[in-house]
């Protein structure tokens, strides 16, 4: 069984991915990568990752967030993060990635930031 469940929904032209579970080395990271690549293939390049349900992320998962960010940017789009748990926030602070990602703690602000 996969470590992560990714639910996709559309809010205007922004695709919101609700992540539930672990983004770690192995399946969790691979599933996120596959989903992002598929969305880009469908021309969806405004992507918001809702991390509220992510109980755990490791360095491999952080690497996958970076990889997704870069892949989306390369296609002229934007990937942003929503609802970081305190632990994820700490890990992004340690890695200085809070300077790279746009992060939000409410969905309405996150969605309006794409306009």
């Amino acid at each position: 069984m996969s470590d992560i469940t990714i639910t996709e929904r559309q809010a205007g032209d922004v695709t919101v991915l609700d992540l539930e579970g672990k983004v770690t080395i192995g399946e969790g990271s691979v599933e996120l990568r596959t989903t992002i690549r598929r969305l880009l293939g469908e021309g969806k390049n405004k992507i918001l990752l809702n991390l509220a349900g992510v109980g755990y992320i490791d360095s491999s998962g952080i690497g996958e967030l970076v990889s997704s960010f870069t892949a989306v940017k390369k296609e002229g789009g934007t990937l942003k993060l929503l609802n970081l748990t305190q632990k994820i926030q700490d890990l992004l602070a340690i890695t200085k990635l809070l300077t790279v990602f746009d992060t939000f703690d409410d969905e309405a602000s996150a969605l309006s930031s794409y306009n």
Binding site: I25, D58, S59, G63, E64, V66, S67, T70, T95, K96
Partner: protein, 136 residues
């Protein structure tokens, strides 16, 4: 009284979860709090993943050894692989602006950030060993 747990794992991804579960059970049985549990979990996952991936390079003939030991100083975690080893000081700093968008290289940063002491060595018989201490 000191407690020790030692497990040997094959070099495959599933071993990371197995190592983390064993460490969590050990740490919970010692009554550690959430902050310590998180630090131990992260350190074990990152060090075992490094050993499997960068050390043994997924060669299942080569094992990864995990040792958990409680002492007066705290909890000591040792992870050893049997790979070719690498020079830890040569790993680029992932927080340098030119490295921020690299997809790997953050595991050692997490180990250093969440553990109180991290010491690398090349044990007799080959491979690389990392000993980490979490003070309690």
């Amino acid at each position: 009284m000191s407690e020790i747990r030692e497990i040997t794992l094959p070099s495959r991804i599933e071993s990371v979860e197995q190592a983390a579960a064993s460490a969590e059970e050990f740490a919970k049985s010692r009554g550690y709090g959430d902050g310590v549990l998180f630090a131990i979990d992260l350190a074990v996952r990152e060090s075992v993943a490094n050993a499997i991936n960068h050390g043994n390079k997924f060669d299942e003939e080569k094992k990864v050894e995990l040792r958990l030991a409680e002492s007066e100083q705290g909890l000591e975690i040792t992870v050893r692989d049997y790979g070719a080893g690498f020079v830890v000081d040569e790993i680029p700093d992932p927080t340098n602006p030119e490295n921020l968008l690299k997809t790997n290289g953050r595991g050692i940063l997490f180990m250093n950030s969440f553990m109180d002491e991290v010491e690398w060595s090349n044990p007799p018989g080959g491979g690389l060993s990392v000993k980490m201490l979490k003070k309690l």
